[in-house]
Symmetry: D2
C-alpha cells in the first residue's frame, strides 16, 4: 500500500528528492528474459533532461541512469530492478528565503502542515525531478512492450501552450520530434516559441495540455470499475506534478454531446471491428477497444516565478516572495516524455494482468 | 489487488450486476464505535434511486440497503461491513437483440473481447447500478466523518448539462436540493428541464458535468506522488461509469493561465492560513490546504438510445441497433450522489491514513 | 489493503459474524469462462459442515451457499463473485455471562481492547464460522484449477490429535474419507475416537495437526522473498482460527538436520527432474519444484470448555467462566477442508501470477 | 502488489542480488520527524555482518548502509527512505560449475524453471545477503518504535542448534550478547561451539531454531483474519531465506494440549489484565494481549556444503556437485538479527494501522 508506488503486476516504487544524493525507482514484477541496458533507458531520460534549450530549466544534470539489480547478462531476471539516477548539480546556495516562507501555488505549505518538516532544497520530494524515475521505469516498460505488443506505439505531444491550442488540421506526427515543444503543429511551434520567450524574459510561466496516444494497443486491456483503463491512465497522469485535469477521448467535451453524436459506430473490417469515430478514446466500459488510446492532461503553470507574490512565513508573518533559480517557464514541455512513460507502464501492467486472469483474449468476433 | 476495490485503510470492494440477485459492497477498515443504521445509509441511496422523476430511468427499485455484518447494537465493530441491495425489478424480457449485437459506445464489445462472455442483462457489471453500492459505502463514510471531521460538508451539484453550463453568478447552495438536477442555478434548472425533455422524447441523451465540493476539510490530507489527493479523487471519479474527464480546481483551464495569475496568494487569518483565490482546488503538492476541495467530472451521454446506430453482431455481421428500455436521458443527474459518495470515501480514507502515519497534524504556523 | 482479504490476482475478501444475518466472501479476479454452480461449491461446504457426527459442534447449519454475482449461464464472467451463506441456527439464548466476561484463550479480551466493542454472540467475527466463506472460495478455486492444472490434487488430513500422532507406515490415502477425522491411519482413527469421546464427555477439548498435500502442482509457482510459496501458504494457514504453528516439508524438524541429510538430491527422470527425497516440501527458494507441496499446521484446543477457568469481567472484577454451548471438542477436524481450501486458493493465485509475469514456464531442462 | 515488499503502512520493498552493484530497500510510510542516521542503523547491520567469527561466512563486507532519501537535517520527512548497501566483496571467481548445475536444496533449479534465467553469482536474489536490507529497515523501525512504544523491547536468540536445544531453566537474557550464537543458555553456547566446529571442518552444516520475543508491546495490535498478528509475524519469518517452520507461543506443541491446560487464565493486576501463563504467545484472536509476543522459526541447514551431492546439469545430464566458497555452517546465527528486524517492522506497521483505524485503544477494563 505504498503511497509512492503505482501499477499492479508491473509495480514501480519511486524514491528520492531534488537535492538529495540520488533518486530512483524499484520496478517489481518485470517479465524475465527481456533484453535491457542502461543505454536503452537513457534514450528516454535524455528526452526529459533539463537544459536542452532555453525553454527548460538551466539546471544541468546528465541524469545518467544506473541499473543496480534485476538484470543479468543483459536481460531481466524477473527480480526487482533498481534504477538509480544520481543528483550531480545540487548547486550550493542560500535557501534562507524558501526555507522560511511558503511559495504560493507550491507544495511548501502543505508538506509543512502534513509532516511538520520539509526538505526545502529544490522542492524536495515535490520537485518535478521525481519524474525522472518514472521516465526510467517507462523506458524499461517500453522494452518489455516491444516484445509483448510489437505493434504498439506510444507518442506524447503538446496540444496547447498557455491559451494557445494547436490546429488539428495541421496535425503531423512527423513534426513532433522537430521542435522543442513536441508539438505536431509546426505553425504553433513557431508561435509558442515567441510567446514562451516573452514569458521567460518577464520571469513568468504558463501551463500546457499534453496528449498521449497509444496506437496499436490490443483490445481487452483494462477491467471493470476501479481498474477501468480510464481510471488507471487518469490516475497515472494526475500523479504527475502540477497536473490538474485529465481527459480520455472527448474528455470534458463529452458532456456537451448527445448520445447519437457520441456513439462510435461499429463495422466489421478485415482485421476485426472498426469504428466510425473515436469519441471514447479507445476505451469502452474501462476496457480497450483496439482503437487508439487517447489521454490528455493539463499542467498548471510553474509556481516558481519572478513576480513577487504575497505569502506568510513559518511563524505566520505576512511577507512576499519571488523565486529565483533555474525553473522551467513551461514545465509542460518536459511532461511530454513523462506522460509517455506513464502510458507505457500502465499498458504493460494491464497486459500482464490480462494474461494473468485471462491467459489471452477470449472473445472472438466473426 | 482487487480490481473492484478502492481505498487503502477504508477499503470498499463492490460486487454485483444489474440483473443478478443482488449487489453490494464490503467495507473493510471502518473505525469501530460509530453509530450507523440502515436508515442512515438509505437517505443517500434514496437520493440516487431511479424513477423519482421523468428525467431518470423508470426502473422502479426500492434500492433498500441491508447491513449484513460488522455492526452490533447499532455501532460499527471494526470488522468488515457488508452492505447488500437486492435487485427486485429485473423485468423479464427478450434480450435477444442485445445478446447478439454490441451497442456502440457501450461496454458490450469490450467485455466480450476481454472475457469471451458477458452478462448482457441490463449491462451486467458495466451497468450504472453498480454505483448504488458506492453510495451505500459513501453513506457509511459520511457517518464516520461526522465523528472525525465534524465541520466537513460534501456537496455535489450539476454545473453543465449537454452544452449548457450554469452561470456562476447565480450560484446558490440553497437551490441544489430544490430541482431535479441538483444544480445551484435556478434559471439553468428551468432551461435544462425543457432541453432534457426534448431529448427524452426524441429518444436521445446528453452528457453533463458534475462538481463536488468538500468544505471544511482539514489541511494535510493526501500524500506525495501516487497518493496525491488529486490522483485519488481523480481516480475515484473516473471509476464511475461513463466518466471521461476529471478536473481539480481550475482543471484543464489551468493550462491557459500564467504563473502569476494561477498563484493563490497566502495571508494569515485568525484561524490559520487564508488564500486570495482557489485555483488549486484546495490541493497543493497532492495535499489539502484547508480550502474547499473542488473536483469536477464529465459524464458522457447515455449510449442506450432510440436512434438506430450501426453495429455488428457477435458473428461479425453488419447490423443496426436501437436500445429500447428504461434509460436515463442524462445519467449525470444520478451521478451527483455518486460523486459525493466517492469524495466522502476518499477523504475518510486519507484521514485514517494521515493519523496512521502522522498521528495528527504536525506542522503549526504562527 | 483489506485486513480481511487474501490472494493477489485471485483475491478473496471475507465478511460476516457467527450470529449475524449471513457471512460470505467476494472473490475478485477469477478467470472467466469456468463452469461453476452452487452444487459444485456445496460439496466442499458439506465436508466442513457442523453436526455431522458427535465429534463436531451440534450447531445445525445447512451452510447453503448462494452465488449472488459474477456467474452467468453457468460460467464465471470474470467479474466479482459473491458467495453468501445465511446463518440460520442462531439459537436465541442468554449471552449475559459471555457478554460480561472474557473467556481465557479466546479473542474476547483482545477484541475489546482493540475496538472497545465486540459482537459476543458466538464469538462474532472471531468464530470459526468465518472459515465457511474460505471453503466456498476454495471450492471455486478448485473448479478453476481443474481447468488450468488438471493433474493437481489437493488433500488434507489429520496427522495428530492431541498428543497422538499417526504412524506414517500405515499411511493410506484411501482411508482419509473413511473416518470422521480425515486421517490416513485407520488404527489412529479408532484410538482417536475413544480419546476424543472421553474429552467430549468431560467438557474438555484438544488440539490437532493437519497436513495438506498438493500432488501434481507444476514447477515454477511462487516468487522470491515476500511471496515465497512458503510464506504465502504459511500465512494462509496461520490466518485460520486457532492455528499457532505452520511447517513446510520438514518444518521445525529441519533445524535438527545436517546439510547433507537435508539436501534432496536431483536426478533426471523421463518427465523432468526427480528428487531422492522431499525435505523441502516441494518448495525451494520459495518456488515450487514440481514435487508434492506439503504443509502442516497446528490447531490449538478449543478454548470454549466446561471446566471453570479464572477470568475477569469488563469492569475488572475477578471471576470464573465455563462455556456451555455447542462446541467442537477438536476444532481441528473441521479445519481439514479449510486447509485444503486455503491451499487451493494460494496455488491458483500463483498460477495466475506466474502466467501474468512469465506467460508460462521459461526454463527447460534437458 | 509487489512480491518483494512487506508491511501495509510501514512498507518495505527490497531489491538487489548477492553479487550485483548494491542492494537495499525503500521504506515508505515512515512517520515524519523521527531522528535517524546511518550510524543508528549500522548498529543492527553490524550485528548481522559476516566474517565476525569462525562460525559465519568469511565473506568480508563492511555492509555500510547509506541513506539516499527521505531524511533531512537528521530526521525523517515522511517521504520514501532509500537505504542502500553496496556490495564490495564480489570476489572474482569461476562460476562454471554453479552456472551449469543445480545445487540440491537450493533455489537454483526453481529460479531456472520459473524464469528461464538466473543470476548464479552467489545465489543472486535468493542469497541471504538480501536480509541485510531487512535489517536496515528494522533499524529504522526500531528508531520509530523508540518514540511510539518506548517500553517495547525486541530480542532474538537461538534456542536450538542442529538437534541440540537449550535448557530453559538456564535462560538468562544477559547471556544473549555474550556468545557468538546469541543464545541465552551459556552451557549450550559452549556445547554448540564444539558441535559447529566439527561440522564446519567436515564441510557440513546444520539448521537452527530462533526465538524472537517482544516485551512491552501494547495490547490491541493486529486484526481479524488475514492480518492476524500470528499471520503477519509468521509470514514475516517465513519470508526469510531457509525458514521452513514458524510457531507462535506453544506453536506446533499446542496440538498436544487440552483446552484446560492451554487456557491462559486472566486476573486483574494493578496495571491491567494479567495472565497465569502465555501459551498463546501474546496473541489471542490475532490481536496482542499485552503479554510477551513470542515467535519461533526453524532455519534449515545451509545447502551449500562440501559433501558431494547428486544433481543434474541444465541440459539434464546426471552429475555431482560440491559447493566450495565462503558459507555459513549454520546460517541460523545470522538469522537472529533478521528475525528481530522483521518483528520490529511488523509491530511498527500494526501500531500505525491501529492508530489509523482506531486512533488509540478503545476498550478499557476496570
Amino acid at each position: 500500500m505504498s503511497m509512492n508506488s503505482f501499477g499492479h503486476l508491473f509495480r514501480v516504487t519511486t524514491w528520492g528528492e531534488s537535492h538529495g544524493h540520488a533518486l530512483g525507482c524499484t520496478v517489481d514484477g518485470c517479465p524475465p528474459g527481456v533484453p535491457i541496458s542502461e543505454e536503452v533507458i537513457q534514450v528516454w531520460l535524455d528526452k526529459r533532461k533539463p537544459g536542452q534549450n532555453k525553454f527548460t530549466t538551466q539546471r544541468r544534470e546528465p541524469d545518467a541512469v544506473r541499473i543496480l539489480s534485476g538484470v543479468f547478462e543483459g536481460v531481466t531476471t524477473g527480480t526487482p530492478i533498481q534504477l538509480m539516477i544520481e543528483n550531480t548539480d545540487q548547486r550550493s546556495k542560500d535557501y534562507g528565503d524558501i526555507a522560511e516562507k511558503f511559495r504560493p501555488g507550491h507544495a511548501d505549505i502543505t508538506y509543512w502542515q502534513k509532516y511538520g518538516i520539509r526538505d526545502y532544497r529544490g522542492g524536495g520530494r515535490s520537485s518535478a525531478r521525481e519524474t525522472a524515475a518514472r521516465v526510467a521505469a517507462g523506458g524499461l516498460a517500453r522494452a518489455v512492450l516491444a516484445e509483448l505488443a510489437p505493434g504498439l506505439e506510444i507518442t506524447g505531444y503538446m496540444v496547447q501552450m498557455g491559451p494557445h491550442g494547436i490546429d488539428r488540421a495541421r496535425f503531423d506526427w512527423g513534426q513532433i520530434a522537430e521542435n522543442p515543444f513536441w508539438t505536431p503543429d509546426a505553425v504553433a511551434a513557431d508561435e509558442w516559441a515567441e510567446y514562451l520567450d516573452g514569458l521567460r524574459k518577464s520571469g513568468n510561466s504558463c501551463g500546457a495540455v499534453i496528449e498521449v496516444t497509444a496506437r496499436g494497443a490490443p483490445a481487452g486491456l483494462g477491467a471493470p470499475i476501479y481498474a477501468k483503463l480510464d481510471t488507471e491512465l487518469g490516475a497515472a497522469m494526475l500523479s504527475i506534478n502540477a497536473v490538474k485535469g485529465v481527459e480520455i477521448g472527448e474528455g470534458m467535451a463529452a458532456a456537451a454531446l448527445t448520445g447519437d453524436a457520441n456513439a462510435d459506430e461499429i463495422s466489421m473490417g478485415s482485421d476485426g471491428p472498426e469504428y466510425s469515430s473515436n469519441h471514447a478514446g479507445g476505451i469502452l466500459g474501462g476496457i480497450s477497444t483496439g482503437q487508439d488510446i487517447v489521454v490528455r492532461f493539463a499542467v498548471k503553470p510553474t509556481s516558481s516565478i519572478l513576480t513577487p507574490r504575497k505569502t506568510i512565513t513559518k511563524s505566520g508573518e505576512a511577507s512576499e516572495i519571488i523565486t529565483k533559480g533555474r525553473h522551467d517557464p513551461c514545465v509542460g514541455i518536459r511532461a511530454v516524455p513523462v506522460g509517455e512513460a506513464m502510458m507505457a507502464c500502465v499498458l504493460l501492467d494491464h497486459l500482464l494482468l490480462h494474461r494473468g486472469q485471462n491467459g489471452g483474449n477470449r472473445g472472438t468476433i466473426g
